[in-house]
Symmetry: C2
Subunit: 391 residues, 2 copies
């Protein structure tokens, strides 16, 4: 058996939150909890996507329009739509550099298949737990790049550290911190100098509003020679339960004399039989003008939630990052409280549920995550309770 | 990089078929080709599935009924429906021994994640090419268990050979050969004696009509201690373009002190975010009484095609296996022709396209695969052309 599994640490974060919330609700059956810990979207699929789904289902009902196996790397119509979307942002990509996936989380782990086991992998912490777990499973050596308030939770390259792979998520989960253009340029330079590959997780790019912040690593010169970009429609278009994303592997990307695009083609054609036709039609609808307008309207609702929470934190003079260009707000627990201490305090005293920062790595201790994916009503209520409790 | 990719052989089979067919069509634009090589279904999704799909899409359109992230190992409603389906066939499985997947081909490769790289893997040949490729990619040592007419294309255990993993597909692709109960008992005994794991690919079980042939490896005593079963709705319910399957990992399955069910839970929760809600509702509809009746009606159409082809081969006194309990017919090329020679002969002389057996491994030389997934009209036409050409 793969011994890497024995090295995994048990992930108790969401289990422990669930237990604490259940115990609280049992004791306080009439309390109205504001759930600001949610990492899932709450708004339904937009109308353009729903129409595309129904139309695709109808196609599958008739022999004349029925679609069987899809191309393993993605349907041409979707790869081309995504390529046009990149071009509209000034990034030239060929459709066959874009691979349709069942979501970013799937490809963030599967991409490791094309690398040797046992490589050195830098992960920015606090981190999405799956980055660490997928690498531990594969027997890779995880080099935690811990961060804190002093660097805005944005670790920078360190020439003293080795790396074969570097995971960068910007805007980041859980911190909401975003790398600026010059910072990403430094990472690309470091990757090229060290023959490393950047796995750029752009799952939250649709939340960026500052024009100076790159949405894609390919906005940085040289990135095509050193970076794979993994994207998702989960947060962009509410596809968390619909499952579609895309992964970019440029043809210029080569290591050890092997072309990574060709390796990924071979991986996909061997290890998958493509993504559902119905789902791919839904995804293509996201990239139409009406789809883009509708998903932006949903994101604006979440951004409104973030603004309400940020306004309360500003009034309370609580330090935070994220919120403006990300669906997450990462705040310093007040009065020197620890992450779990603040969790209990908020739950008991304000009936607010959030996520303890320490659950994303040791350097998250003393920090706390709010998400903007809840309902506007609950978010306003949470903000007013925060002001009452801490003001 | 993963050096296993350098050891892969290029797969030219379907590419070469495509080239030959394109060249023929360019020269004979008026010829009507009978495509008997198709490995994809041609009938649309059944009515129960279409209704379930539309209903699920409607749920995703409204905030009150919207579903976000699904449980990574599968929705309870689907795991329970599949467990009841097993129980109806006399096999007791718990829902949490059943993992919903995006299809058998996905899990046939992904399951390797829980094993060490470099293990010894027995693969029955002629084989579905992805078995070999997924293992070569992982650096495993493939032990080809070659088969032929003398053993009915059903290799049996050999105590002189090592094995950590054993891939068994029954009914098999490409040969359509099916293992009987006693033969599977021998494999289970061998696996237990050698501490090996059987990966049982049951993708074609719905085509079995002989009551004595097991549909599931778990019909064999002891299989829960040595077998993982990988199933698909692709051929059972026409889901090739809809993507859903399921993988059974019994809780009794342990190796090196590690429980494989728990390892697979950890793999799924780390490396996926579950299967689309809409797709899982479609899959659940397959297991309703009306869904079962409707998918059986489609399979009966394909079985009718197989019967037409078998009748022609019987009249021509051509040896074959499969057809009765499988969607594939595997025949010996007449007059000692090689696989590609017969391909060209059939294409030129009868305008029939099939699949050369040698494309599934060297021991397939001299054999040829017909599939029953084409249209009834073309299948009847192909049978009558075969009789004219070879009779």
């Amino acid at each position: 058996m793969n011994r890497g599994y024995a090295d995994l640490e048990d992930s108790y974060l969401f289990h422990r939150i669930g237990q604490k919330v259940a115990a609280f609700e049992a004791e306080h059956p009439d309390a109205h909890l504001c759930r600001m810990g949610i990492g899932d979207v709450s708004l339904p699929l937009c109308d353009a996507v729903i129409k595309a789904l129904h139309a695709a289902v109808d196609e599958q009902a008739s022999k004349a329009s029925f679609h069987g196996y899809m191309p393993e790397c993605g349907a041409d119509f979707l790869r081309e739509a995504i390529a046009r979307h990149y071009v509209s942002r000034g990034i030239g990509l060929e459709p066959d550099e874009i691979f349709v996936s069942s979501g970013a989380s799937d490809d963030l782990g599967s991409i490791l298949d094309i690398f040797e086991r046992g490589i050195e992998v830098q992960i920015m912490e606090p981190a999405y737990p799956a980055y660490v777990d997928a690498n531990v499973m594969d027997g890779n050596k995880v080099i935690a790049r811990e961060s804190g308030k002093e660097n805005g939770f944005l670790p920078m390259p360190d020439n003293a550290l080795p790396a074969n792979l570097i995971y960068i998520c910007s805007p980041a989960n859980p911190t909401g911190a975003t790398y600026g253009r010059q910072q990403l340029e430094s990472w690309v330079e470091y990757a090229i100098a060290n023959d490393a590959i950047i796995i750029f997780d752009a799952a939250y790019e649709a939340f960026i509003e500052d024009e100076s912040i790159p949405h894609s690593i390919y906005e940085v010169p040289g990135a095509r020679e050193c970076a794979i970009e993994i994207c998702s429609l989960s947060k962009t278009a509410g596809f968390t339960g619909t499952r579609c994303g895309y992964t970019v592997v440029p043809k210029q990307l080569e290591r050890d004399g092997m072309g990574l695009n060709a390796m990924w083609v071979r991986n996909r054609t061997t290890r998958t039989n493509g993504v559902s036709y119905i789902t791919q039609r839904a995804a293509a609808a996201v990239f139409t003008p009406e789809g883009q307008a509708q998903v932006k309207a949903n994101i604006d609702v979440y951004k409104g939630n973030a603004a309400v929470l940020m306004e309360a934190l500003d009034k309370l003079d609580i330090w935070y990052t994220g919120g403006r260009n990300a669906p997450y707000i990462w705040l310093e627990c007040p009065d020197g409280m620890g992450s779990w201490e603040f969790f209990d305090f908020l739950l008991e005293r304000a009936n607010i549920v959030g996520t303890p920062g320490v659950g994303f790595g040791p350097c998250g201790e003393g920090y706390f995550r709010f998400s903007s994916f809840g309902s506007p009503e609950d978010t306003r209520l949470a903000a007013s309770r925060l002001l009452d409790l801490l003001g």
